[in-house]
């Protein structure tokens, strides 16, 4: 069940209290501690109420922890979730993958995440990131927040938490926001299909087939029997090459049709920096255009590709 | 651009198989077939030999390669056998093969049963289902060198009479005076007038003496587990008990990484292990 949201003035002690409270009914709570590699938050599990004091939530809590829920089906789990993470929880419930009775969501307002990966690329791995909600500092010097806001946050449509309350500060959307990502998207949008094919081949040539895109995705819960890595299926070969990488992503896009909640974890996880969300975003847009559906907003909604409308689906006349 | 020819590489590349041909396919059970195979190159046949318990990589190029115990007598090397249970992609392709079809083989791989150490001792073989395959090779070796060993006992079981392999061998084994052979099935049925009972149960009923004996067991993991318990109850110590393991393998030469039990690789340090060795390894079966 999605529990009430933490109030807007969420302090770390409130968060600890929420986690302690959840642990009264749960075996463990998924959240973050501050001590991750590179000095940013890292995912953690809280089993005992005494551990809850270590919990943090800040703009480096980029991970979507809902990815762990399908593997924890047998346990009663609490999960600290940003609004976009909560959409994934909702979608897992909608697909009957997890039992809502065993999951309690500790909703946290999202201050808008920072793009840790980009900051580190630019300032070196482990560069110190400080974010007081207004000013963003890297190694003690203020930087322009907009440049280090992931596009998914800049364009966030989840300012209203799926549980119903207003989610507070999302970064000001300016032209500078997520500049690199926007530039890439504009460039992509201007391409012809043939140019895009070339673009993707170039991108996919860097894929090393580590499956981080799949494993980081909360909705890719077929995991161990996934057809893109199977002895049985011949959808892809077993080698590392651009063609198979392309097929892998076509499989992912297809299988996430109407199910992707847009959390961007696939792209964040990709060590080769392949802009996977270009495809996911486009598909989410088309799905909404065709079926008026946004995945994970309503845990009771029927996935659009598992249903049909006999009378109104006629896009092409016979 | 200069290149280095791969000259100087050892004469044999361990990952490169030798072309071979299926001579005959013998259906054993609804899902097990024995393939009689021979290398295409007479020089390869000439150089080929194996010991009981050793394994080989049999491939249908295009479908892939898989690991099997060599199930035939080590004394015969011009034509030898793999008994293959249909389970995945490669074994399904193998089951499609007929006489004359080409295959490729890397063999022998792995280590063998220490039959030299066993000379003068009684040998108890305990097999279930497809687990008879490696023990069959061992049994033939023991029979070929019968005078070197003491009493020879074989208990071989399967779920139903149809699931017992090596029908023509069994006829022979049953009539041999120098082999105490019991075939058993899990549950009684109308077409079976022999012994009925699970292999470990039958083993305890037959109660072979641990005195100056070695027991060798191979079969489904659950059978092995209970057979090991039964052997312990009969008084067999862990260094008297041997088994041969199966794991997913790819390279067969201890480098691709997947078949290890702790620091030991089933493909090279095994597949034959004494229970004493196994008990010293991490439990990751």
């Amino acid at each position: 069940m999605i529990s009430e949201l933490a109030k807007s003035e969420l302090s770390m002690s409130d968060l600890a209290a929420k986690i302690s409270e959840a642990l009264a009914g749960a075996d463990l709570v998924l959240g973050w501690t501050a001590s991750g590699p590179g000095g940013v938050a890292a995912p953690a599990r809280f089993y005992e109420q005494a551990e809850a004091q270590q919990a943090v939530f800040d703009s480096t809590c980029v991970h979507n922890l809902a990815v762990h829920l399908p593997r924890l089906k047998e346990r009663r789990v609490g999960i600290v979730a940003k609004p976009c993470d909560a959409r994934a929880v909702n979608q897992l419930i909608a697909e009957r993958e997890i039992d809502p009775g065993r999951v309690s969501v500790i909703g946290v307002e999202c201050p808008s995440m920072v793009d840790v990966k980009t900051i580190w690329r630019r300032f070196g791995y482990g560069a110190r990131i400080e974010d007081d909600g207004e000013r963003l500092l890297v190694n003690g010097a203020e930087v322009e927040r907009g440049k280090y806001t992931p596009a998914k946050c800049a364009d966030c449509a989840d300012r209203v938490h799926p549980a119903g309350e207003q989610s507070a500060a999302v970064a000001d959307v300016t032209d500078e926001t997520a500049a690199d990502e926007r530039q890439l998207r504009e460039r992509f949008n201007a391409m012809s299909p043939a140019e895009r094919r070339e673009f993707w081949r170039e991108q996919y040539s860097r894929c090393i087939r580590c499956y981080a895109c799949r494993e980081a995705c909360p909705m890719c819960y077929c995991r161990d029997v996934c057809i893109m890595q199977s002895d049985e299926s011949r959808w892809t070969g077993g080698g590392v090459n651009a063609g198979d990488a392309e097929m892998m992503q076509l499989i992912r896009v297809n299988h996430l049709a109407g199910r992707c909640t847009g959390c961007g974890e696939c792209e964040r996880a990709c060590p080769a920096g392949i802009p996977l969300m270009l495809l996911m975003e486009e598909q989410n847009r088309v799905v909404e255009e065709l079926f008026g559906h946004r995945a994970g907003v309503d845990p009771d909604a029927r996935p659009p590709l598992l249903s049909f409308n006999a009378n109104n689906d006629g896009w092409r006349k016979a | 651009m200069s290149t280095i020819a791969q000259a100087g590489r050892k004469a044999t590349d361990p990952l490169r198989p030798e072309p071979a041909t299926v001579i005959e396919v013998i259906p054993e059970t609804p899902n097990i077939k024995t393939l009689r195979v021979a290398f295409d190159d007479p020089a390869v046949t000439e150089a080929f030999s194996f010991l009981p318990g050793q394994i080989g990589q049999l491939s249908v190029p295009g479908a892939g390669e898989s690991t099997f115990a060599i199930s035939s007598a080590p004394s015969q090397t011009d034509v030898f056998e793999f008994s293959v249970m249909k389970a995945g992609v490669v074994t399904s392709a193998i089951h499609e093969l007929g006489a004359g079809d080409p295959v490729a083989i890397r063999a022998p791989l792995g280590c063998a049963f220490p039959t030299d150490e066993w000379k003068g001792r009684n040998i108890v073989l305990v097999a279930g289902g497809i687990g008879m395959a490696p023990l069959r090779s061992l049994l033939y070796h023991l029979l070929d060198n019968r005078a070197d060993y003491g009493g020879l006992t074989l208990i071989y079981g399967a779920r139903t009479p149809d699931d017992l392999c090596f029908a023509s061998d069994r006829d022979d084994w049953r009539h041999r005076a120098d082999l105490d052979f019991t075939a058993t099935i899990d549950m009684a049925c109308s077409i079976w007038d022999g012994c009925v009972g699970l292999v470990p149960t039958v083993l305890e009923e037959r109660a072979p003496s641990p005195e100056n004996s070695v027991a060798v067991t191979c079969g489904p993991p659950i059978m092995i587990r209970y057979a090991l318990e039964s052997l312990a109850r009969l008084g067999f110590r862990e260094e008297q008990v041997y088994t041969t393991l199966e794991r997913r393998m790819k390279c067969g030469i201890g480098i691709c990484g997947r078949c290890n039990l702790g620091p030991k690789y089933v493909c090279t340090d095994g597949p034959v292990f004494s229970l004493a060795e196994l008990n010293g390894l991490p439990d990751e079966m």
Partner: protein, 152 residues
């Protein structure tokens, strides 16, 4: 000039029979389309279409029973959603959307089938040979620097 490769995924119960009818009626139709018989358009995984393009198809046509007439009652209703989504996603994948079509042809519409094939083939002929198959199977040894865009 190399021959066009057109792939048709046809429902067994209607379009395949319709194509058969067009054939027995000796209706004139172009020969580039290679037909794959499917049990239902509901079985046409959009990935089959994409795989066909990846392997070098110049055009892919899916044809099934008219909505409302599915042999399995609702297979083509599901297919319609998937195929429309696929059609709109093709440009993002880098495939010209004109190279794909889905349509409905019943078992009795032999003449209509001939028309569909003719229209589709003509359209693809205008577009010409499509993208080379993505050659997947190149061992990494041949990985070279010049195929990549790099910062100058």
């Amino acid at each position: 000039m190399a021959e066009l490769k057109l792939i048709g995924f046809l429902c067994n119960w209607c379009s395949y029979a319709g194509a058969d009818m067009a054939g027995t009626a000796r209706l004139k139709q172009p020969g580039e389309l290679r037909i794959i018989r499917m049990p239902c358009t509901g079985r046409v995984d959009p990935l089959l279409v994409l795989k066909a393009f990846q392997e070098g198809a110049d055009g892919v046509l899916v044809s099934g029973c008219h909505p409302g007439d599915c042999h399995y009652n609702e297979g083509n209703y599901y297919a319609r959603r998937r195929l429309e989504l696929l059609a709109r996603m093709l440009p993002a994948f880098g495939i010209e959307p004109e190279r794909f079509e889905y349509t409905w042809v019943s078992a009795s519409e032999g003449a209509r089938w001939a028309q569909v094939v003719d229209d589709f083939t003509t359209r693809i002929r205008m577009l010409g040979i499509g993208d080379e198959p993505t050659v997947a199977k190149q061992p990494d040894d041949q990985r070279t620097g010049e195929e990549r865009a790099v910062n100058e």
